[in-house]
Amino acid sequence: MLSFPRWRMFLCLAAVLFGVAFTLPNVLPDSVLTPISSWAPHQRLALGLDLQGGSYLLLEVDTDALKAERLTNLVEDARKTLGDGQIAFTGLAVANGKVQVRINDPGQIPAAQTALQKLGAPMATGGRDISVVAAPDQTLTLQLSDQALIADGSKAVDQSIEIIRRRIDSLGTREPNILRQGVNRIVVEAPGESDPEKLKSVIGQTAKLTFQMVDDTVSVGEAMAGQVPPDSILLPSAEGPPGTMILVKRRALVSGEMLTDARSGNDQYNRPDISFRFNSAGAQRFAVATTQNTGKRFAIVLDNKVLSAPSINEPITGGSGEITGNFTTESAGNLALMLRSGALPAPLKIVEQRTVGAELGADSVRAGALAGVIAIISIAAFMILAYGFVFGGISLIALLINMTMVLGTMSMTGATLTLPGIAGLILTIAMAVDANVLIFERTRDEERAGRKPAMAIDNGFSRATESILDANVTTLIAALILFQFGAGPVRGFAWTLSIGVFTSVFSALFITRLLVVWWFRSTRNKRLPI
């Protein structure tokens, strides 16, 4: 009649052991935990950034810049390809997000089309990722396919994640969490880092370094008046008064990818500078370029800004050099770090930034813990007053076991506890009590309707089960939706609530039942004390 199969008993025991074993690491000191961590559960609850303090940055890869760069490269490649194929052309330029060029000899259009088509990158689905369309007026239009843009963006995100990781790691931030979000976004979470400016200073710069020859064929004044040679570009200079421009060749002699090392230091006048070293390919190219151009000037360009434009006094064959510019010790250090870890494929924009100081986090933990203790004590007092020591006490024990199961599951799965999560936890406690109340009220109904205690208990449980399941499914729906659509702390809340739904149902239908059955078997009361 009032049965409790043995397998259920073992399940309850296993659940209790599980809950206690996985909750304990949160209260044990390190001195106890470390020696046993090889065989015992040792994961602790991960605290969210709002509880332990830290910084959260949401970065967006600038896909427009990425596309613009790809188009610029396409123009240069097209110029070279057509030149190599001895195809005469005019008006090669980027227009409306496409590259256009007019082929002078109509007979050469098919050859030009075939040659230009090969400029696209091969795609996984076959074919190339650009299309070349000929118009009746002998104009060829090169258009990037949508897949090309998506693939470029995706690749840029992957590369950026790697580079950001290297940059942040060298800051000494502990356990940064760097993840892709959506198509073109990256989340950076740095627990314990309460100064986001430090993070931003190493993320905010693309750090694309190139060495380009200075173009002396026209004066800067003429160039600014519009007479820029097609293979040159005007760039702002960091030297001289603001607004100073320098005309440089578009083609890079050597670029930052060929650096093997970059360190900040001081030059002979004790100004901060950066010393760098090329890899063998870079060293060779730099040696050839400086040999051919001795006496001319070259520009060191960082993110489309000329840092300095020294003259080549003699061929530089050693493969190393120094960069001077208007550096502070700090900016030189940051730049060296960024050059070491590589250039970002595209600029990153910070679209969301959240920082919580460690003190505020600690305050929140204290407030949350206090609120939790108050919740448990007041519920305990209320349940014992309402249902007496037997049933009130049983619901309290079930509640405590439920708590260890929630905390244990969260510790085990590496779930993150956030401040809203604590509110969710407290509400879970209340909902778990509700399941017990439903059972007790049904049992009271049954006894009042004239049933013997054992029968009343049995019926009470079976009648309440359906309501409990239905009610918790709806809560679970709300929690899962929240998990799907929420972000950050809200997800922590949703996860806490979801775990709570499962453990509450289990503790009400298994643990409470086991305790009630045990109590009844040992006392065989004629009347239930509720």
Binding site: K349, E352, A375, E441, A478, L482
Partner: protein
């Protein structure tokens, strides 16, 4: 007083809940209209999550010089600078929109260093910068979350009970959400992403109430085939009254610690939850059930449960 205290509750109550329904309907209608009026005239006090912009929480060595801080911010050329006390007297929260065409994330760094220079000893305990694009997305995903969860609940209740029950529940859920957002609007309490979490929790709790209520109703509909629907609703609500009171009080007790001691960051969330518990309990009795009463419930389709003698209430 009998011990345990639950024995002091009358064994049987005969409140005529349904008789009050017309008055409750008027009350609910007024509350809903007042909420909408408040949305229109006062608006929701959107936090940076949904509005975009910058929020900095600071603590100063002495009492926070609110008006000076406000002037300093305006002098830096930011838009819409608001400075308020927050929590203790030494704490303040600064909110502003960055100047147009300035990268907000870069601007906040400069503003902080300027403040640092002007107010030695100032500490930045929290900062949020949300770009306009992200804030729009967050608001949209919040609304989608609310919509999808209500839709799924309608389907679940329809599947487990009847369509009328599902519609009653959903109308009640809208009532709860509107009223909760209304009180947040009237009290100028901040509405941000965690508030959506609170609203979804309110939905969860409210739905929990409705399911328990429907469960009784369904049971009694099968038991008393001839009894008028209004009487069955009264009976069902009286039967589950003790449970309603106890669960409601427990939930309120549990959250009260968090409400008063949780600190100003979490207050909006807990406040919404506490209010939602009241509204959710009320709407189960006075919104969901009256809708079913007006609509009627299917009673003939279900197989009649054999009436066991001891099962029936005297």
């Amino acid at each position: 007083m009998a011990w345990p205290l639950i024995r002091n509750l009358p064994k049987e109550t005969h409140f005529r809940f349904v008789a009050l329904a017309p008055y409750a309907a008027i009350l609910s209608a007024i509350a809903v209209i007042a909420s909408f009026a408040s949305f229109y005239f006062v608006g929701l006090n959107f936090g940076t999550d949904f509005k975009g912009g910058t929020l900095i929480e600071v603590s100063t060595p002495g009492p926070a010089p609110l008006s000076q801080l406000r002037n300093s911010l305006s002098a830096m050329g930011v838009h819409d600078a608001q400075v308020q006390g927050f929590g203790g007297p030494q704490n303040a929260v600064l909110r502003f929109e960055p100047t147009a065409n300035v990268d907000p994330a870069a601007a906040v760094g400069q503003i902080k260093s300027k403040l640092q220079a002007q107010y030695p000893g100032i500490k930045f305990t929290r900062e949020d910068v949300v770009g306009p694009k992200v804030s729009g997305e967050l608001f949209k995903s919040g609304l989608i979350a609310l919509g999808v969860s209500i839709g799924l609940m309608l389907l679940y209740i329809w599947f487990r009970f009847q369509l009328q029950f599902g519609l009653g529940a959903v109308i009640a859920l809208f009532h709860d959400i509107i009223l909760t957002m209304g009180i947040l609007s009237i009290c100028r309490i901040e509405f941000s992403m965690p508030s959506i979490a609170a609203l979804l929790t309110v939905i969860g709790y409210s739905m929990n109430e409705k399911v328990i209520s429907f469960d009784r109703l369904r049971e009694n509909l099968r038991k008393y085939k001839r009894m008028p629907l209004a009487d069955i609703i009264n009976l069902s609500e009286n039967e589950r009254l003790s449970r309603t009171l106890i669960t409601g009080s427990t939930a309120l007790l549990a959250l009260s610690g968090m409400l008063f001691l949780g600190g100003p960051t979490i207050f909006p969330v807990v406040f919404a939850m506490v209010f939602g518990i009241f509204v959710g309990t009320y709407s189960s009795i006075y919104v969901a059930l009256p809708v079913i009463l007006l609509w009627g419930a299917d009673r003939g389709d279900d197989e009649a449960q054999p009436l066991k003698p001891m099962n029936a209430r005297p």
